[in-house]
Amino acid sequence: MTDSNNQMTGAEIVLRALKDNGVEHIFGYPGGAVLPIYDEIFQQDDIQHILVRHEQGAGHAAEGYARSTGKVGVMLVTSGPGATNAVTPLQDALMDSVPLVCISGQVPTTLIGSDAFQECDTVGITRPCTKHNWLVKDVNELAGVIHEAFRIAQTGRPGPVVVDVPKDIQFATGTYTPPGETPVNSSYKPVVQGDIKAIQAAIELMATARRPVFYTGGGVVNSGPEASRLLRELVELTGFPITSTLMGLGTYPASGKNWLGMLGMHGSYEANMAMHDCDVMVCIGARFDDRITGRLNAFSPNSHKIHVDIDPSSINKNVRVDVPIIGDVGQVMEDMVRLWRALPKKPEKSQTQEWWSNIERWRARNSFAYKPSSDVIMPQYAIQRLYELSKGRDTYITTEVGQHQMWAAQFFGFEEPHHWLTSGGLGTMGYGLPAAIGVQVAHPEALVIDIAGDASIQMCIQEMSCAIQHNLPVKIFILNNQYMGMVRQWQQLLHGNRLSNSYTEAMPDFVKLAEAYGAVGIYCDKPAELDGKIEEMIAVNRPVIFDCRVANLANCFPMIPSGKAHNEMLLPDEATDEAVANAIDARGRQLV
């Protein structure tokens, strides 16, 4: 390939490679070591650059973009502090399996190792928080590395990758090689097709089940819309009840008749009891995380477990399973649907009748219940109204991390995948606003709401400037209880109600803050005014900060206290001050 058309600078190669990999938007922040790439961005129109106000924002915005579209999110940062600021979103994307390509500038190769200005060991620092990373030292390898970065980020279990490009490589001239013509890592071959014998065994087990449950997760979202469709078909065919992790909400519609609600620490009573008492558990694209299992040696003690996952290391990691199936959940479910249809004798409906009546009994406990109030806005009520008033629109919800996140998961009904974006694995406060910006960039006409807490929102509040600059009308709905609510809840549970540093003193006036940025501020502290103000928020075609003052001391229930099993949930009607203070024993106190 000595075609002179393919000779270009490293910076040009970066832009060309991004374009050839279908990139239309990148999120970034300039600096000394990426100036040549920014110069190229200036001279082209194919790729739009979204200027954030902090590199963490670039990463979460790229995550929001990726998770709401199924495409790869791209971020661009400079060397040193630019790269270290990217670490949080990279780890966030790693834990939640979000495909992300991060291009970082690096000091010139001749200066690497000299403690140069804004130098850091980017590949060293990001090695444990990426799926893979590269330092490119030869401009002729740059194109191939970027193509490979996209392949690795989006195939198998998706994840973040970093391509570190020294400044002299950006200036150097080399050959551009298009995708498909560059060498690939022959050692990287994710398995997507499940073992048909294992799938057959799973179907046979499912057909004998008297107390079955589907337990699904973010893997179904990652596998694409077809996987959600197949999941719905599989649930319809089998008639089994279904629950999902926080990350998997929307893959099965919340209005579906087999839906049990989310499971786990703040999941519904019926979902957790079904997990505990089931005889066949079908885990699809979830990973038995500690927020899901509770005490491991009491986790679903009498069930046979089927686990479908694309990542072999997720199998038998926390919980031993009986039928492991390694493959893409979409492809495996396609086989499952086919094999279930081909069963010579399908189970009678009566086989699971008793199970369903148990579930109805658990449902009747109404575990998400809360005491309504006409004086103060209950946070749960605020989410319910937000849900009702945004129905019928193309609505995307992002969240920060804490009580508001759990209430959003409990009370907002998600009907479609890719419409719910939250930091599940890493639990990153500050995720929601930049993620909402990423979603709005990808879906300019959609209603994008960041359900936030008064503490979390301040972690990436600087991205208001980004929203204003790029005319992204994101809506920030703050459940303002003047506390770090989840921290306070845990201090009540674990530390004798000594509220160490969890009260948010010197709170900004969020309405004035919105106005200072050039956005719209809305204040509401009366239940009777809530609907009108939410409608006002939705109607505004500009960024809005909605300061929703809610009951200060409301806690998030039901809850599986640390170190407890699924059938030892603390339900809202039982959560007296005394029960809360004694819910967690000494051993559970050591847990997170």
């Binding site: 050692s187 500690d290 072999p312 290391s313 038998n316 990691k317 050591q590």
Partner: protein, 190 residues
């Protein structure tokens, strides 16, 4: 090197591990590229696995392949997890648990050998005794002056441990060991 005896996968592993920990020898075939060793070692330290011994060298120059031999300690479920985690690293081509493979082949354990260089300084009867022992252990003298010997010995780790212990009172001042190189017996390749 022995960071933890317990897996750190989740804070909920509070129940005492009842399965017994075993030593296993893993062969890891990797692309010989910058940072690959750091990826492997970082996995062990980051997830709290043990490294009892580690050797690495390029084995196939044309194919850019290196072979890493790791002796690790853990319960069967932890060992299974280590293997799965290693296979997840992009430049890792293959991971073989040689200890499991040996059992499958009806053998007690894989061939495991180490090389050590040992410097002994002394005079008089100690020198003669050192040479007698070197002969008994089939160690070679690779360097000598009137004051010292450097001995080279190959064998199982236990043999080298024993040799080192015997030489201590005879003026042993420096040891360098390679760590374990290993492969399975029999005609089959890795």
């Amino acid at each position: 090197m022995n960071a933890h005896q317990q897996p750190t996968g989740s804070a909920y592993f509070i129940t005492p591990e009842t399965a017994k920990a075993e030593n296993h020898t893993l062969s890891v075939l990797v692309s010989n590229e910058p940072g690959v060793l750091a990826r492997v070692i970082g996995l062990f330290s980051g997830r709290g696995y043990n490294i009892e011994s580690l050797t690495v060298s390029e084995t196939e120059h044309e194919a850019h392949l290196s072979r890493i031999t790791i002796v690790t300690r853990g319960t069967p479920s932890v060992l299974e997890q280590i293997k799965a985690q290693l296979e997840r690293i992009v430049p890792v081509h293959r991971v073989v648990d040689l200890t499991v493979r040996a059992k499958d082949l009806g053998q007690e354990r894989p061939i495991e050998r180490e090389v050590a260089l040992i410097k002994v300084v002394g005079s008089g009867e100690h020198r003669a005794e050192t040479l007698r022992l070197a002969d008994a252990f089939q160690a070679k003298v690779v360097d000598a002056t009137v004051e010292h010997f450097v001995l080279e010995i190959t064998g199982k780790s236990s043999k080298i441990d024993q040799f080192v212990a015997i030489l201590k009172p005879l003026g042993l001042i420096e040891i360098c060991r390679t760590g374990i190189a290993a492969m399975n017996r029999g005609p089959q390749g890795m």
